[in-house]
Amino acid sequence: MSATAKDDDQIQDARINAYVDGELSAAEAAEVAAELTRNSALANNVATLSRLKAELRATAEPASGLDLADLHVPFRRRRVFAFAAALLLVALVGITARVTLWPVSEQSQSVAIWKLHDHWVEQSSSAAGHGGETIDQDRPAGAAGGRFQTRFPQASHDLYLPDLSAARLMLAHTEFIANGAEAMVLHAGYVGSRGCRISLFVFAEQVSAGTDMGNPTGNAADAPAAPPSADLVAAAMAAAADAAMASEWRIGSLHFVALARGMDPAHFATVADTIRRLTIEQQPPDGDTEMILAQSRASAAPCQA
């Protein structure tokens, strides 16, 4: 057999294999089909390949008996390691972080951060209702690629705003709000696909939001289980309506507050804890964290804000 004839045979071979595999374009497949009616040897080859393919497919055994629970053991172990590593980090760099979460009984008064939150929610809902862009254009310049870096005036380094897209919470709004002559407050807003809105506020330690941020009139003493140092959150929670929830923590000189209304409490707790961890680690979420966020969202009811 000449080299050319051999090459032709190989091309024809590859062509009928691709035909059996459904890999030819419609025109090529029609061409082969027409050829099959004229060429019985070729038709036999196709029949052989089809039978071979079917028998091979039939040899596939299901993965039954596989202990899928085992698959999660390393996952849990990794979480323990991650938690231990986070604790070590806290011990080493002197970060103090504390999360508090508590539902609030009804209060009539408003405070600055709830006003900011509610104002943003109203605006973002209105924009979405009018077909507007749900992601604001004021996203920080470094937001591309899932790493949401922004420069916080009072901090010596860029601040990472957590990527919560695994929970379908998209960073849609970032705004620096003047708080006195020099201080700034960062407001980051996350928009969920089922009506959830979470605000993350970042203050410098010296900021006394109660005096500089619109003089909240709420009484911290009225807030149930108010943490001793969480003046801002205590005031905010005291003034919040039902189904409001907040979480606060500190990292060095920065004070973080996450809050939302009408969210599934367990889901909020998970999201707030994730925000806290990611702001401590200053890293995007890893695969485990994304899974936790996604699972939490899947098991939570839509928001009722």
Binding site: K6, D9, Q10, Q12, D13, A14, N17, A18, D21, E23, N44, N45, A47, T48, L49, R51, L52, K53, E55, L56, R57, A58, T59, A60, E61, P62, A63, L66, L68, D70, L71, H72, P74, F75, R78, D286, G287, D288, E290, M291, A294, Q295, A298
Partner: protein
Amino acid sequence: MQGKRFLAYTDRLFAFAISLTRDHDQARDVLHECAVKAFAAFRVPRDEAAYRAWLFKILRNAFIDRQRKEGRVTTMADVDEAEAKPADWDIENHLINAISVKQGMELLGPIHREIIGLIDIAGLSYAEAADVLDVPVGTVMSRITRARHALIGHVRGTNVRHLSARKRTSTR
């Protein structure tokens, strides 16, 4: 959630793992390693086709790593074990059955088992297989053709051996 996504592919991954290892226990171990690596991944492809190819690639790498650790030399490079004779598909259809095909697979080299495992057993497209193997689609096309040739040759051979074995038994 990645757990559910992963579970949707366990059967196909397991089938591919058996094609590679030819052993149930090893296939199970390789699948387990694949799951652990997938769950621990920092970034997971969102697109389903990319996710599928990504999982098969992880499983394949897990298999190669195991082979290396066990001191077995496994070259999954672009080298085909057998030079196939073109257009040699001539075999009676009844000879192609579950047993002969399974036995034929046992006799194939790793490159051929791998491509058949991906295309025929796990049901990947040529493009997906090319992605998993990191080769052009044209290579997948020629490789699957050669692999099937080789398999047909083994199926033919196993049937011949069976007949001669039976003959020997009956003449004793």
